[in-house]
């Protein structure tokens, strides 16, 4: 219906570069997966290595702090905190270390090789005792990093499924034989959005192959016809569209508006023994989050994080959706978001780590059949979230803390409401 | 038939440059003769044999058999190698039959097969014909190799230290068998055999050719062995002619030629 908004075409020279980037991505991806399993990472330090400690709060311990990130647009607040010098200003010696897979991130956090990470907010939940980890395998959520900005992309041959249309999606998907969909980590946010969406559309997951593929390899794998669709964060969905191989079937903000996506997940020992430094880290990331929510800064952010050392995608691919302008691909037109594109701050509404979030994910695990028995919702949530820490930081940084820690959650995709006081209702909902 | 060897020279390119091995060999072998070649290592006796067999070409000089120049292997010459050289993956029978068949394309299959059987029986290997070389002893392998050479029906039989690796008892028996085959019903009338054993050289040969390495002349001396056949290995040691030749060989090899080899 709407005129297809042609995404900004890169000049011919860069078009060739895009293909090279795909190939480079393939090679890189291959090498990275290998490295990923051993937990090895390619360390990067951005161009701005400011040594000056014009810091105000605390004298630096000098000991480095390693923060992991994965090549996704929403690593921006952590990366920009480094690039803008916010860590250094506070006397922190922070390295942002690129991770190659979520499993690798998990293991590096557990082993302490990294102290904290830009991480799937659901990962600590999937590891929680009684679910996916052992008692000594706990990771803590310090704060939420971003809302929105994830999507489910399907290969262009399935364009008849349309955008945000549960009926057509159901008919197209159930008609497929041997459907293969990818997500980034079992029990993670992308896995959850995928399963939630399938369930809402009434597509049974029994005959669907759902595989785990690290985010930077998503597009390459779809190009190689290795899967029919994937659920991942930006910029990979935008890239699939601009490469002409896929279209966007649903954006995460249209599943659950302003949902928690990535979190700053930390190693518990680090959180305890270096608490003051962690508070400064959070402060710096919050600063960067504020900076990012100013639309005027997003173009330059896209430029900065686009380099191979960080996300490794063209700034143009990152920028569009970061600004809320979505080309859906496959002739489906475009969609513009006002305010509920990827957000990092929203006056503190993004960052507050709500207990209801943890409980919502747990209920979904039960709903999807990933958890056979009901866990102790409150205990898990209390165990994972560093609530007191966040309160202290919010106070120190003068950030408003909302009053809705256990407020019900509405998901507009299927019009459901989750009441944290009664999680079993959601767990049993079909 | 005569085998004429005229002015044969041969050198090999080695790590230390070009090494001459044969410097002007002149030799005539008459029909019906059994000639032994003996000498220290490096005197080129095996090389000479290879050239006669057609495995190698001389750098200079010529070899002719009954007036026909020899440059390639042919059905008129066959060889028994030092290391048996039976093909280990074929049965004894196939080894002999394949070799004879390809050396004598003029034969019919039936003829070839019966000739092969005959020689295998003579050397006593017929009962073992289905075995592989690895399944029989060294002596038996060599018997098969002898049968193989004879089965070709060559005019000249060449043997390169054929019995060196065998024990004295087996060696003795094979020497006898060789003589029987040569003097019995076979096409083969002339034999040239390289050997390291003085006793073997004298016992078997009509003439013993003593060779040496350059810069000495390749053929040092040719000694006639004037002992009547059939010769009895047990008693021949007492024959004065045997002792004369044996002593002469010993003197040549152990004294005169020894210093050149560093001994």
């Amino acid at each position: 219906m709407a005129e297809e908004e042609v995404p900004e075409q890169a000049p011919a020279g860069q078009g060739i570069t895009r293909r090279n980037v795909l190939k480079a991505g393939l090679v890189l991806g291959a090498a990275q997966v290998l490295a990923a399993c051993g937990g090895k990472t390619t360390a990067t330090t951005g161009p701005s290595t400011s040594a000056s400690a014009s810091g105000s709060k605390k004298s630096p311990s000098g000991k480095p702090i390693n923060l992991g990130f994965i090549a996704l647009t929403d690593c921006a607040s952590v990366v920009m905190a480094k690039e803008l010098g916010y860590f250094a200003d506070r006397g922190l010696n922070v390295n942002v270390v690129k991770q190659t897979s979520w499993a690798g991130t998990r293991d590096n956090l557990l082993s302490g090789q990294i102290d904290g990470a830009h991480c799937l907010s659901a990962m600590p939940i999937s590891l929680a005792p009684g679910i996916g980890g052992k008692p000594d395998q706990v990771l803590k959520i310090a704060m939420i990093i971003n809302n929105n900005g994830q999507s489910i992309t399907l290969k262009k041959e399935l364009a008849a499924a349309g955008y945000d249309n549960l009926k057509t999606e159901k008919s197209v998907l159930t008609a497929q034989q041997a459907l293969k969909l990818a997500m980034t980590f079992p029990g993670g946010t992308h896995d959850t959005w995928l399963r939630y969406w399938l369930m809402a559309a009434g597509v049974p997951t029994a005959g669907i192959q759902i595989v785990t593929i690290p985010p930077p390899q998503m597009v390459a794998n779809m190009t190689a016809h290795n899967m029919d669709g994937f659920s991942v964060g930006e910029p990979w969905n935008a890239k699939a569209v601009s490469d002409g191989i896929g279209f966007t079937a649903i954006n995460s903000q249209d599943i659950w508006d302003n949902h928690p996506e990535k979190a700053l997940v930390v190693n518990p020992a680090f959180a305890e023994s270096r608490k003051d430094e962690l508070k400064q880290v959070m402060g710096a990331v919050l600063q960067a989050s504020k900076w990012l929510d100013d639309q005027g800064n997003r173009a330059s952010a896209a430029q900065t994080i686009g380099v191979p050392a960080y996300v490794g995608a063209e700034p143009a691919a990152i920028r569009g959706r970061m600004l809320g302008q979505y080309d859906l691909g496959a002739g489906l037109g475009s969609k513009t978001y006002n305010g509920d594109y990827m957000r990092f701050y929203r006056d503190g509404n993004v960052n507050f780590p709500r207990h209801s979030y943890v409980m919502w994910f747990l209920a979904q695990y039960q709903r999807f059949g990933l958890l056979k028995t009901a866990p102790d919702y409150k205990a898990v949530a209390n165990n994972l979230i560093l609530s007191d820490l966040y309160q202290e930081v919010a106070q120190a940084e003068k950030i408003p803390v909302p009053n809705d820690d256990l407020a019900p959650i509405s998901t507009q995709l299927d019009g459901a409401t989750f009441d944290p006081a009664n999680p079993q209702a959601e767990a049993k909902r079909v | 038939m005569s085998l004429e060897i005229r002015g044969v020279e041969k050198s090999f390119a080695g790590r230390n440059g070009v090494q001459p091995v044969l410097s002007g060999v002149d030799l005539s072998v008459e029909r019906g003769e059994f000639v032994s070649l003996i000498g220290h290592s490096g005197c080129g006796k095996s090389t000479l044999l290879n050239i006669i067999a057609g495995l190698q070409r001389p750098d200079a000089g010529e070899i002719s058999l009954d007036g026909v120049p020899v440059t390639e292997p042919g059905p008129d010459r066959a060889m028994v190698f030092q290391h048996y050289s039976l093909l280990p993956w074929m049965s004894i029978y196939d080894n002999v039959r394949e070799a004879a068949a390809s050396a004598r394309p003029d034969r019919t299959k039936g003829d070839n097969d019966s000739i092969v059987e005959r020689y295998l029986r003579v050397v006593g290997m017929w009962p073992h014909r289905s075995k592989r070389p690895g399944q029989v002893s060294g002596g038996m392998q060599q018997r098969a190799a002898v049968a193989r050479a004879f089965a070709v029906g060559p005019k000249v039989l060449l043997l390169d230290e054929p019995f060196g690796a065998l024990d004295a008892l087996t060696r003795g028996r094979l020497q006898q068998q060789l003589v029987e085959l040569w003097s019995g019903e076979s096409n083969t009338e002339t034999v040239m055999m390289v050997t390291h054993g003085l006793d073997e050289a004298v016992y078997l040969a009509d003439r013993v050719v003593v060779m040496a390495a350059p810069p000495l002349p390749s053929v040092i001396e040719v000694i006639d062995v004037d002992i009547k056949r059939p010769r009895d290995k047990a008693t021949i040691v007492h024959d004065p002619e045997y002792q004369r030749v044996y002593d002469r060989l010993g003197h040549l090899l152990m004294h005169e030629l020894a210093p050149a080899t560093g001994w």
Binding site: K23, L26, V27, G29, A30, A31, V33, L34, C37, A103, L110, S111, I131, G132, G133, K134, D136, Q137, A178, K180, P186, G187, G207, Q209, V211, T212, I213, A220, N221, A224, H225, N226, Y365, G369, L370, L371 | G54, L55, P73, P75, R77, A78, M79, F81, H83, S85, L87, P88, W89, M90, E98, A100, S102, A103, R132, P133, G134, Q135, R148, V152
Partner: protein, 295 residues
């Protein structure tokens, strides 16, 4: 999560103790019946002792580092896997039994292996037998040979556009080199003795190839195939992990993501046992063509 969770990577546990001890051809005079039995029992006993020592060491490490899956947990996982090995309830790796997964892997392996043999043996013949061919191809071979097969995978993907054929290609290119190089070696190293026999007895070219060259080279060819098989199996597991293909490698990747380290350890055992079995088969074949042994 439905998967049983535990810890980090286990140390590589492979069926090490059964190192193939081949004392050479069977002795001509075999010991009396009782003596032979005692000998065998002795070997088995030693092997078991070796395995027991390894398991003990493993247990010590697992006790010291709780993230390492213990032998006990691995055994439990093994039992679970073996309880329904032929299950094929759905498309996901978690829906398939271990034997089904191994079957998929083996099919992939044999396809790639067959391709490598079909190309490598004739090519090896050409390289070994024809000097100009050897000279022309040698620099290329020397440069391509050390390339890690996994680096071929993205290129294969770009060229073939589909993951399963790219995986098979990667296995094939891995298995190619040992086969080709060993074939060339065999073909080019026919002993002078055999060549002299063929020459003296005037074997035709066809006869030489059929009766000397090929039988002589078979030993080397099979050695090459054995090496190829070993390395292809290793690469297969890695490629499956890379591409999340359903198979034993995919199982390892899946278990890793699900934080099920005992499953990874159990998978390692399976991988080792299968690899050992494959090598044993080829080794049997090799022995059949070893003419130095009395049979």
């Amino acid at each position: 999560m439905s998967r049983r969770p535990i810890l980090d990577d286990a140390p590589a546990v492979v069926d090490v103790a059964q190192a193939e001890v081949t004392p050479g051809p069977a002795p001509v005079a075999s010991p009396r019946g009782g003596g032979r039995l005692r000998e065998t029992a002795g070997s088995v006993g030693l092997a078991l002792a070796g395995v027991a020592a390894l398991v003990l060491l493993w247990q010590i490490v697992a006790s010291a580092r709780p993230h390492v899956p213990s032998p006990g947990a691995t055994l439990t996982e093994l039992r679970t896997l073996l309880a329904s090995p032929l299950r094929n309830a759905g498309p996901n790796i978690g829906d398939k039994g271990i034997v089904v997964l191994l079957g998929s892997s083996l099919i992939r392996l044999f396809t790639g292996f067959a391709l490598a043999a079909a190309v490598g043996i004739p090519l090896g013949f050409a390289v070994g037998a024809i000097e100009p061919v050897r000279r022309a191809t040698n620099p290329i071979i020397q440069v391509l040979r050390p390339v890690s097969p996994l680096a071929w995978f993205p290129i294969a993907l770009a060229a073939l556009s589909m993951t399963p054929p790219a995986a098979v290609f990667t296995i094939a290119i891995t298995a190619l080199w040992p086969t080709m190089i060993n074939t060339a070696f065999g073909v080019g190293s026919v002993p002078q003795d055999h060549r002299d026999v063929a020459k003296v007895f005037r074997f035709s070219r066809a006869k030489y190839i059929r009766r000397v060259l090929v039988p002589y080279s078979i030993g080397s060819i099979i050695t090459g195939l054995r090496l190829s098989m070993g390395v292809a199996w290793m690469v297969l597991v890695a490629v499956e992990m890379l591409a999340a293909l359903p198979g034993i490698g995919g199982f390892v990747w899946d278990s890793y993501n699900n934080n099920n380290m005992p499953a990874v350890a159990a998978a390692i055992l399976f991988i080792g046992v299968v690899g050992f079995g494959l090598d044993m088969i080829l080794s049997r074949i090799a022995r059949r063509f070893d003419y130095s042994v009395a049979r």
